[in-house]
């Protein structure tokens, strides 16, 4: 196997991907902490009642926070999944297909989640 050839074929270097992976992981930790803390400003089960959840979605700042969480977790999670999958088999076709599949999965989740946040916020698409 020629390591140099493979490196040249990749859009990003693995170190750049891992930088994104670590940064999204650390950032997600903070924003998810804020999200959880928002659950304890009132009794936990009350914060999950329908009216309160809808109210959260209608707050533009909270909607932005949810969108940030969605993007960070999707990037971090799907890259983690890609890493696990490319370790299972070592051939270029498998690696390429797994990379493409995880990118498609990531975009789909972000798109569907964004749609939900936008609808929840009351905006019309």
């Amino acid at each position: 196997m020629n390591f140099e050839n493979i490196s040249k074929k990749q859009l990003f270097k693995e170190s750049q991907i891992m930088k994104i992976h670590y940064i999204t992981g650390i950032c997600a930790l903070f924003v998810v902490a804020i999200h959880i803390l928002m659950r304890v400003i009132m009794p936990y089960n009350m914060s999950l009642e329908y009216e309160n959840v809808v109210m959260n979605y209608h707050n533009i700042f909270y909607a932005i926070l949810l969108e940030i969480i969605l993007v960070l977790i999707a990037i971090h999670g799907f890259n983690g999944l890609r890493i696990i999958l490319i370790e299972l088999r070592q051939n270029t076709a498998w690696e390429k297909s797994m990379t493409i599949l995880t990118i498609i999965g990531m975009i789909s989740i972000i798109a569907y989640g964004t749609r939900t946040i936008i609808i929840g916020n009351g905006l019309e698409i």
Partner: protein, 303 residues
């Protein structure tokens, strides 16, 4: 490397029997010696024992032979190493056992094998360290190193391991200093502090124990392994070398340095006290752009 394949089945009794008298003398001297530490006293209680040596047998050239374990009874003294017992069995009980060895003093790295499930050098592992005094039937199991293809019995194929080692270009490359033209010959200047940064990694004997214990290598054979990666760090941090970019391109790959799970088993099994896991982490931090000012890290782990 000075590696030696002992697959001929020749009798080594000439070498072996000559040592018995000397061994007895040394044993008496040690027992009667006036100064003893606590650990030496406890070890001196180890009496001569007959142990059961279980050896993994396989022959890749013979399709009919199935892998199995053969058992041999061998007597051992306090200072007997696993390699001594294996050679004893080969000389007096079964000439067909294949093993690789050379220096018998943990310098060549040839006799690496899994002893009681842990990758160790056979010449550096004493029987007395593996068995307890109370065990009525002590058994020691010798298997070939994991993550290496088998050849015969305890001999494994190191081709892939050395290919990974070769790929990271483990030699000084310097375009600035002229080492060919004798008139312009320049000196590689290096301070003791700079030397300390890579010194421990230069003690690697390429025995393959770290590679054998690595869980990532077990699943991903394209992963260079702890040995190659720690050597990449050894040359990266060497101030005389200027090929960092080339080496980074080689290891910064899908199956490169980022696939290390940091289990740390490589550092745990290294017989020379090298810490490959540390080298990998430092190299990673350099790839991420941290750790520009490397501190000296020459402290070897105490075994």
């Amino acid at each position: 490397m000075g590696w030696k394949f002992n697959m001929s089945g020749k009798d080594n009794s000439g070498d072996h029997s000559g040592n018995d008298n000397n061994e007895e003398k040394i044993h008496k001297k040690e027992l009667n010696g006036p100064k003893k530490t606590k650990s030496v006293e406890s070890k001196s209680k180890f009496t001569d024992k007959t142990i059961t040596l279980k050896i993994f047998r396989i022959n890749q050239n013979n399709e009919k032979s199935n892998s199995h374990f053969d058992e041999y009874k061998v007597s051992s003294k306090r200072w007997t190493t696993v390699l001594d017992t294996l050679l004893d069995v080969k000389s007096y009980q079964d000439h067909s056992i294949s093993l690789r060895y050379s220096c018998r003093m943990a310098s060549c790295g040839s006799c690496g094998m899994k002893i009681n499930g842990v990758p160790r050098l056979a010449c550096y592992t004493k029987i007395s360290d593996l068995i307890s005094e109370d065990d009525p039937d002590p058994t020691i199991t010798c298997e070939p190193l994991a993550n290496f293809p088998y050849i015969k019995d305890l001999v494994t194929d190191f081709s892939q391991f050395f290919n990974h080692h070769r790929k990271i270009m483990p030699y000084i490359q310097n375009t600035k200093n002229d080492t060919i033209d004798s008139e312009n010959l320049s000196e590689y200047v290096q301070s003791p502090e700079d030397l300390d940064k890579f010194l421990q990694f230069s003690y690697c004997i390429k025995c393959g124990l770290c590679y054998s214990s690595c869980p990532t290598v077990a699943t991903d054979m394209n992963f260079p392994g702890p040995q190659a990666l720690s050597q990449a760090y050894r040359y990266f941090i060497d101030t005389r070398d200027s090929a960092n970019k080339t080496r980074f391109n080689i290891i910064d790959d899908r199956h490169g340095i980022w696939r290390c799970h940091f289990a740390g088993s490589c550092s745990h099994v290294c017989p020379k006290g090298v810490d490959p896991a540390l080298g990998i982490q430092l190299l990673r931090s350099h790839l991420l752009g941290f750790n520009k000012n490397e501190k000296k890290i020459a402290k070897l782990r105490e075994k």
